[in-house]
Symmetry: C2
Subunit: 307 residues, 2 copies
Amino acid sequence: MKISIIGGGAIGLLCAAYLASKHKVTVYVRTESQRDLLREKGLTISLIDKMEKQYVSVELFENWDGSGDLTIITVKQYQLEPVMKQVKKLSNDIRALLFLQNGMGHLQAIEELTVEELYVGIVEHGVMKLDGASIRHAGVGSIQIASLPFCGRNRPSRIGERLTESSIPNFELHMQTDPIWMMQKKLVVNCLVNTLTTILEINNGKLIENAHYERLLMPFMEEITGIFEWNNDQKAVIKQYVWKVIKQTGANKSSMLKDLELGRKTEIDAILGYVLELATKKDKHAPLSAAFYEMLKGKEQEREGGI
Amino acid sequence: MKISIIGGGAIGLLCAAYLASKHKVTVYVRTESQRDLLREKGLTISLIDKMEKQYVSVELFENWDGSGDLTIITVKQYQLEPVMKQVKKLSNDIRALLFLQNGMGHLQAIEELTVEELYVGIVEHGVMKLDGASIRHAGVGSIQIASLPFCGRNRPSRIGERLTESSIPNFELHMQTDPIWMMQKKLVVNCLVNTLTTILEINNGKLIENAHYERLLMPFMEEITGIFEWNNDQKAVIKQYVWKVIKQTGANKSSMLKDLELGRKTEIDAILGYVLELATKKDKHAPLSAAFYEMLKGKEQEREGGI
């Protein structure tokens, strides 16, 4: 297939590196410097002790015209605005879109797009951007995708099926049937792991290695899943899932902690901010989410040097 | 008066240095090395840009016999046990005791002592121990003391009155009438300031300078004062008091943060642990206190190198 990838961050480059082995991939980046670097040096991906190089075509985002079979949008949720503007302008020319953002605040706006096929996905890989043309694939996971309906009616999912059928080593793609449940599961993990590791400034694994920190997980999870109004079966699934993710990524720093340490904007508003908005809408009490949110926003402000 | 001071920490040495100007003071310490250091070098106290030296008599704690007019016990709450053992043994010989611990978990045991005059006090000074024979009096405040009843009946308070009447510059002592309210007020301040500054690893002042951090104070205060079953007037008083203390000690590190950074045991159990026990007894929900408690215990464990 002809696949466009918007965004030259860790996730965008990861998708580009692996999909290029089976598809014709173009990466769309924001800056000329990254474009030139990728064109000149190729895209380097290191996985455990192996290093590989891929040459993919690279263009500036302003040249993206929506053509081809699929466009994957990998920018962060808080960077979506200019992309969505362009998406709306080109929507008649776009066949299929896949959004790979954390958080859920943007889902409603995405769901209303009139493009033919529309997917959201969650990325369960551990990946770090080393520079504009190289990434380290630190944890092999998979990507789950699901089709978003339009006005309550299912859209076709031919591209999604083709994408998930073509098997690429270390880069599995799976179709899921329930996008909301899939995104909520990921959101709960992000809330728990990103929030607590960033407040405490610890690697993910400490959340279960330190018994005191582990005792933070259940009450926080109960609060969030209460806001989502999940039943006990769903709560049991998420509990297993959270502990599994923490074990698998034990040695890693969460993305939010990395963002904080590097003085970058964190995804706190897309993640815990969304949960708090939902709690307000549903008139539910969320003392832990509110406190942890202020702690993180406060830390973010301190790292920026205060306002 | 003849005053014995048990404990050679920051508070013990602060009391010794100032009280020695009006009274005959003996400090009782645990180690021979501190005794010898104090005997040899005297007690140095630095206040702003002024440095003074006092020679007080110093003995090992094992030589304390309960004689004299007043004994001030300044060890931390979690170090009280061996002192209380000795107090009980000597209770017929002791005229008056003043306890200067944070927390409230020990109050019941103290209240049951049969000594003639019995006081608890709270220390509102900022003071740092520099070594076994010198302290820095970083913030001039005062000490509030109140008499504890025995079996519901008031004890005499002659020593307390004499102590608070004798005016010592930079070392005011005031009598209060309600020991529980006095201790609870201090406990709430300690809960809020010590807990949050230690989790966030910030100086006290940041709690009001950073608007996000400031938004942590009220919900946490509401939770604790709800457990104490305070009325709105009491809540208004404590709110003012907390903000005043934070402003006055803005540039300081809280004692708990200092303890954590130096790998020492913190007073978390005497402070937030007490609040949680009370919540359990009264069957009250305390999600913030519980979460912050685990964060601090977890941090303490990490600093100790884990178990």
